[in-house]
């Protein structure tokens, strides 16, 4: 089952790279970043963790891997971020929420929308976390250099 998740998440992330017109040479990395992020999320959820913290950890890994790829290949981080984060994005849930709204099931709809907002926030926190670490490392190195 895990193998199927690995393969499908790789394909999904790389295909989103094509849909978003990512540079050709970045597609393989896009798929890798997306796959690792999703697998971390999947395993954590399987172990019984709630989806919101699982999303935070998944997106942290995505951000760290993207940061590394961006440094190595000297391209803006957004290229790896965007398609890598796609498997974690609560698109399916957002769709579910909207469907409940138009079906007049407001009770579930509001519940699902709140979950979507939480998950979007979790992704943003995860993505920002690696930026914070990056800035801290950079400043520390600059400071050590000055000493």
């Amino acid at each position: 089952m895990l193998l199927a998740q690995l393969i499908t998440s790789y394909i999904a992330a790389a295909c989103f790279g094509i849909i978003f017109n990512a540079p050709r040479h970045a597609l393989i990395q896009c798929g890798m970043v997306g796959m690792f992020g999703w697998v971390v999320y999947y395993i954590l959820v399987e172990q019984g963790l709630d989806v919101v913290p699982a999303t935070i950890f998944g997106s942290m890994l995505v951000a760290i891997l993207s940061q590394i790829c961006a440094k190595i290949f000297k391209t803006p981080i957004i290229i790896f971020n965007v398609s890598g984060i796609i498997p974690l994005v609560p698109g399916g849930l957002a769709y579910d929420a909207m469907r409940k709204f138009v079906e007049n099931d407001y009770f579930l709809a509001v519940q699902l929308s709140a979950k979507v907002m939480l998950l979007a926030g979790a992704i943003a926190i995860g993505l920002m976390f690696s930026e914070v670490v990056h800035q801290l490392l950079k400043k520390t190195f600059a400071w050590l250099h000055l000493e």
């Binding site: 999904a12 540079p23 796609i86 498997p87 957002a94 769709y95 909207m98």
Partner: protein, 249 residues
Amino acid sequence: MSAQPGSVAKVCLLAGKIMLESGAETYRVEDTMNRIAASLGLENAESYATPTGIQFSTEGEASYFRRISNRSNDLQKIADVNSISRQITAQSLDAKEALLLLKGIQHNSETFPFWLQLIASALASGSFAIMFGGSWADFAPSCIAGAGGYAAMIGFDKLLEIRFIAEFVASFLIAVIAVISIKAEFGQYMDKIIIGAVMPLVPGLHITNAVRDLMAGHLIAGISKGVEATLTAIAIGAGVAVLFAFLPH
């Protein structure tokens, strides 16, 4: 190195416009514009980007404005503009050369042909159906529905130039294909097929970008992106729901 303020502003605005139209985050756009301005010798330049327009002003000069009317996702262009901005910062390009290069990028056609994007959205849809807990029987119908929906989205967007209607029609078509494939006993779970197939249309990226912009303090950009994402989600949800409203239970 000091160039004419007007021509520097032109370079900055074009770079910002291309980036915003390709779906870059607003803070990155402002950062790039300020960096280009500083390296080309414009001190105290200020830029203000929102998803629908950019303003750029320098001390003692007129301030400039550009309207952003259509936005899509084109990471290649963001990477290209980024590399030009790096070259400008390294002082190996002047304003005139940079403007020529940027104009070239603006008119570049897409990296991947349409048929390849269609195949990609089909495969992505099928994969998502599996990832969200569907069975392998749902892979093929989700692929077909995803490709059909993506093609309808692009086609109607070109035809009508109203994103909302294009997304509505696309998700309606996805629901139709899903219902037909379930009726023909071609797939197993209708919900998984539909969720997989709408993924290429769903504004997941916009939702995330909106939250990031809000957290970074770009309040107007964050809110307008959030509204854009909500509109898309409404269109997709409504397209599917309309079919279910007519379907006999």
